[in-house]
Chain length 347, copies 2
C-alpha cells in the first residue's frame, strides 16, 4: 500500500507537563513516533521536513496553563512542542506550495510535521542565503526588530537608543537597524563576551554587562547623560525600572519582551511608571504577527543589508533535535551567544 | 508717595518645609505680608487679585525636593505656594492685559500676586460663566480630560472606557466627554456618595466604590466582560495593575496621574506590564501644558456643552485662603466631592 510505504519514523519533542517557575530539561521529552509523508486526496495540508527549529523566549509563556488564549497557540502536555522553524515541503495538497519548496513558519519540534493550514507558512524567497537565517534575522525575530524599532518606536536619525538583551536574536538586529537609521545605540548583555560582540561585531556605540553593574540607573545615566529617546525592551524587571528613570521627554518604549520575568511566579513589577507622565513617554507593546503583512518588504530590505555587509548576524546552533530542550532552557540563563536555534536536518 | 499708598496687606500661604510621605496641614502656614498694587514703569509684569485657587494632586509632587526640574515649578520652602487660579488684573504693564481683565493660570496662594511673565495666563473669554469653573471644567483640569481622552487615548464611538478617580476634577469631565463620544463608561470612586454622583449626575453607565471591592481585577471583569479599550488613569497602584489585566487588544492607557502613589516613599509598582505586550496596549503619559495651544478651541467647545446642559460639573469650595492647606491635603484622603478649590475673594 502506498500510504504504508510512505510512513517513516518521526522523532519528536513533547511537553511532559505544564511548566511553573523555571523550566527544566525534564519538562520536555524526545519520543519516537511515525508519520505519513503524503496528504489525503482533496486536503490542502502540507507535510514539512523540518530543517531548523527556532528557540524563542515567548515559548516559555506558552508552556504554562492559561485561563485565556494568547496570540500564539499554547503548547499542550503530551503533544509536540510548537514553534517557528525552517522546513522543506515533502508533500502538499496546497495550490501555492509544491514539493521541494522551502518555507518558514509555525511547525513542530519533530522531524516531519503535518500542517493542516499552510497560511501560517512563508515561502523563502532567497534560498541563496543560509537557510537557518530564516529562524532569525530573516524570520520572525528579524521582523520583530524591524517593526519594533521603525513602526512602534518610530526611530529617527539622532535618537538615543537603548537595547536590552542586545546580543540576542532580536536585540542584535534592532541595534544594527538603529545604527543604520543614524541613532546613538547602547546595548546591555549578560557577559563581557556578549558586550564585546556588541561593540566589535554589531557596531553599537557602546555596551555594558548588566551583571557587573551595582546600580542600573547609574549605568544608564553614564551611557545616556542626556537621556534615552527609545528603549527597545526585551527584559523587563529592574532594567525597565532603570530605563524609566532615564527616558527623555517624548521618549518611546517598544515593549517586545520581558525575559527576566517569564519564569517568576510573581513579576517584579515596575515602580517608576510616574516617569511616563513627567516625561510624556509612550510605552507600547507589540506582537510581530500583527505585522506579517510587511514581511516581504522586510525580507527584501534585510537580504540587501546582509549581502551588502551592513548587518552582521550571529547564531548559536545546537545540533540535533535531542538538543532542543537544553537549547531552549539556555535562553533563560543567557547561555546562548546570538540567536539560538536547533539544526534538525541540513536538507 | 504713590507706591506707598498702593501697598496693601497680602496674606499668603507658604510651604514650611519639603514634604516627605503624607503631607500635613503643618507643612504649610498662612502668614501676613504686603504687596504693591503697581508695576514699575517699563515692566510687562501684572499684579493679580486672586479670586479662586485650585487644589490639584500634581502639587504634592512639587512639594518634595527634586534632583531634576519637572514640567511645573517646584514649590520652595519659605515661599508662597504656586498653583493654578482665577484672578483679576489690578495692575498691568503688559500690552495684552488691562486692569479689570479676568484671567486663569499660574498664580500664588495669596491675596495678590505679582506675575513677572504674563505668558502663563489665559484671558477668560466667557465671564458669564461661574468664574470658579476656570479652576476646573473650563481650566487646566478640563483641558486635561479633553486632550487625555481625545488626543492621547483617541476615544471613538463604541469604546469601553474606564475612568478612575472618576468624580474628581478631571475624571468627571473625562467620563462625560467619553459618553458624548458614544462610549460605554464606568468609573471608580472612593465612596458610595461619589459613585452615586457618577450614575445620577454625570451619566456614567456604571460605577463602583473601590474601597468596597476585595478584588479589583474581578470588579473590572464584572463591569467590562469584553475588556477595556481605554483606561483613563488617575490613580496608579493596585488599580493600574487590575486594569492592565483587563485591557483589550490595542487598548490605550492615558496616564494622567497616579494619586495613590504621590505620598509613598516607594511606589507600589505595576506587576502586570506583560499585558502591554500580549494585548498590544499603548500606555502613554501626557502633560496638559503641552496642549495649551488647543485651549481656545477647548474653551469654546466646553462652554457650549455646559450651556447646552450636556456636561454637568460639581465643585467643592473651601471658603477663605486659610482653608487652602486643609483643602489640598483632603485630595489625598478623598475628602473632596468634585473639583476642590478655594474661594479667596469673589471679585
Amino acid at each position: 500500500m502506498a500510504a504504508a510505504a510512505a510512513e517513516v519514523p518521526n522523532r519528536r519533542v513533547i511537553l511532559k507537563r505544564y511548566v511553573t517557575g523555571f523550566p527544566s530539561e525534564d519538562d520536555m521529552e524526545a519520543v519516537a513516533g511515525a508519520t505519513h509523508l503524503v496528504v489525503a486526496p482533496g486536503s490542502t495540508a502540507v507535510v514539512l521536513k523540518n530543517l531548523y527549529l527556532s528557540c524563542d523566549p515567548y515559548m516559555r509563556g506558552r508552556m504554562s496553563k492559561h485561563e485565556r488564549p494568547s496570540y500564539v497557540p499554547d503548547i499542550v502536555p503530551g503533544e509536540v512542542i510548537v514553534g517557528f522553524g525552517v522546513s522543506k515541503v515533502v508533500a502538499s495538497g496546497h495550490p501555492d506550495l509544491k514539493v521541494g519548496d522551502l518555507v518558514w513558519g509555525l511547525t513542530g519540534w519533530e522531524e516531519y510535521t503535518l500542517v493542516p493550514d499552510a497560511r501560517s507558512l512563508f515561502k523563502i524567497s532567497h534560498s541563496e542565503m543560509p537557510l537557518s537565517y530564516y529562524t532569525g534575522v530573516l524570520g520572525m525575530p528579524g521582523l520583530t526588530a524591524y517593526v519594533g524599532l521603525c513602526e512602534v518606536a518610530k526611530a529617527k536619525k539622532g535618537d538615543s537608543v537603548f537595547v536590552s538583551a542586545a546580543s540576542g536574536a532580536v536585540g542584535q538586529i534592532a541595534g544594527q537597524l538603529a545604527k543604520l537609521t543614524g541613532c546613538y545605540v547602547v546595548g546591555s548583555a549578560g557577559s563581557d563576551e556578549k558586550v564585546n560582540l556588541l561593540k566589535t561585531k554589531f557596531g553599537f556605540d557602546d555596551g555594558f554587562n548588566y551583571k557587573k553593574e551595582q546600580d542600573l540607573n547609574a549605568a544608564l545615566r553614564r551611557y545616556f547623560p542626556e537621556g534615552i529617546d527609545i528603549y527597545f525592551e526585551n527584559v523587563g524587571g529592574a532594567m525597565l525600572d532603570a530605563a524609566l528613570l532615564n527616558m527623555r521627554v517624548h521618549g518611546r518604549i517598544a515593549m517586545c519582551g520581558m525575559i527576566s520575568e517569564y519564569n517568576l511566579e510573581q513579576p517584579q513589577g515596575a515602580r517608576n511608571l510616574s516617569s511616563l507622565i513627567v516625561k510624556r513617554v509612550r510605552m507600547e507593546g507589540f506582537v510581530v504577527s500583527d505585522y506579517f503583512g510587511e514581511y516581504r518588504r522586510f525580507e527584501e530590505d534585510m537580504v540587501g543589508y546582509l549581502k551588502g555587509g551592513k548587518i552582521a548576524y550571529i547564531e548559536d546552533v545546537a545540533e540535533g533535535l535531542e538538543k532542543a530542550p537544553v537549547a531552549l532552557i539556555g535562553l533563560f540563563t543567557g547561555r546562548n551567544v546570538g540567536k539560538q536555534l536547533v539544526a534538525v536536518a541540513r536538507e
